[in-house]
Symmetry: C2
Subunit: 205 residues, 2 copies
DNA sequence: CCTACCGATCGGTAGG
DNA sequence: CCTACCGATCGGTAGG
């Protein structure tokens, strides 16, 4: 997009590639240092360009942070949601979503665990567009769980009298604790405990 | 302790009072801005003294951070644990610990919710003494839950075949999710949902 | 506990 | 996409 002279001819895909490299790197670093703690110079160094090189893609740090949340959402969708959507709606998809989430933590898709878990903790007491975006993503995830609880109820795989909102809350609690405990204590047993608890909870409902 | 001239005579209690004011303020701010994001100048301004005034009490930022974690632990003990210890060991104390935790979140003892939940999320991928200290506090809390699960089992209030570690993990998950959801969505229903889930879980076990 | 200062780094801009 | 620069703020220190 720029009008700077270029030694090699720049193509549209060159710009897109570096744009994605910046955001993927930013999302990874944000799970280690926080979305606020991440500095422009540090990020520039990591992707091998200058600070002002980044400002060719983003107007401000907040603009970069917002785009980073969007890129992280794309990763989350690809790594957790898409594969679970292959399963039929209802109990099977619900279980697949949980398994994919735990696998996404274990595979260290982001080096600092679930991007939205750490970013929510960092931004939950701040105001503005980034907090709002994180809220929207997490609310969407919870609604996805709820929709599959409801479908499972209609299909007779979960009891009619269970509160879908309550059950989704409990499942989310187990998934987030698995992430947090796994990161703090480097203990893979946390992932198994969440899996066990979710299976038991669903079998009972 | 210093040898600076003083207009008013400094007593030992003056120094102790400002030491505690600094740490209490630091702990409160850390739940809003992070223990790393909190700056010395910002903290100094908040407590009404100069930056170098703080360095009369602490050798470095890390020293301050470590002392802040200790002060936060004292608050947590006073606000959550002490009152629950009035109940007899076992199921009653276990329920009291959970209720006191949820009340500590709701009462906004720290403006950014549970100090150890937010600090754990910030430090779980870092190394060093602060991460270690946060680990120790959270491990101690989990052991306290476990000890009361075991006592409840011996007293016949919980089934013998429940895994105390597993049950403590699930309770912790619900408490932490209550904190996180309450903060991000400003939704008091999250606290009720955790309370309900814990009661159900204990009634079943 | 203060003022005054240090080098390093922050987010961001001018100009090409 | 670069170099060179801006004022502000960072953690920390000297000296009292």
């Amino acid at each position: 997009m720029g009008t700077y002279p270029a030694r090699k001819r720049r193509t549209r895909s060159d710009g897109e590639r570096s744009y994605r490299t910046i955001l993927d790197t930013a999302a990874r670093l944000a799970t280690l240092e926080g979305l606020e703690g991440l500095s422009i110079a540090r990020l520039a160094g990591e992707v091998g360009m200058s600070k002002s090189g980044l400002y060719a893609h983003f107007d401000s740090k907040q603009d970069l942070q917002l785009a980073t949340v969007g890129a992280a959402e794309d990763v989350f969708t690809a790594e957790v949601i898409t594969r679970a959507m292959e399963k039929p709606e209802g109990i099977e998809r619900l279980q697949a979503l949980c398994q994919r989430y735990l696998s996404y933590v274990k595979r260290a898709v982001f080096p600092g665990g679930c991007f939205f878990s750490s970013t929510a903790a960092e931004w939950d007491t701040r105001r503005g567009p980034i907090r709002d975006r994180v809220r929207t993503v997490l609310a969407g995830w919870t609604e996805l769980l709820e929709a599959n609880v409801l479908a499972a109820q209609q299909q007779g795989d979960l009891a009619q009298d269970v509160d879908a909102g309550q059950l989704s809350f409990e499942i989310n609690a187990l998934l987030h604790e698995a992430n947090g405990h796994y990161l703090l204590f480097r203990d893979p047993a946390a992932l198994d405990r969440a899996q066990t608890a979710i299976e038991d909870r669903l079998a009972r409902a």
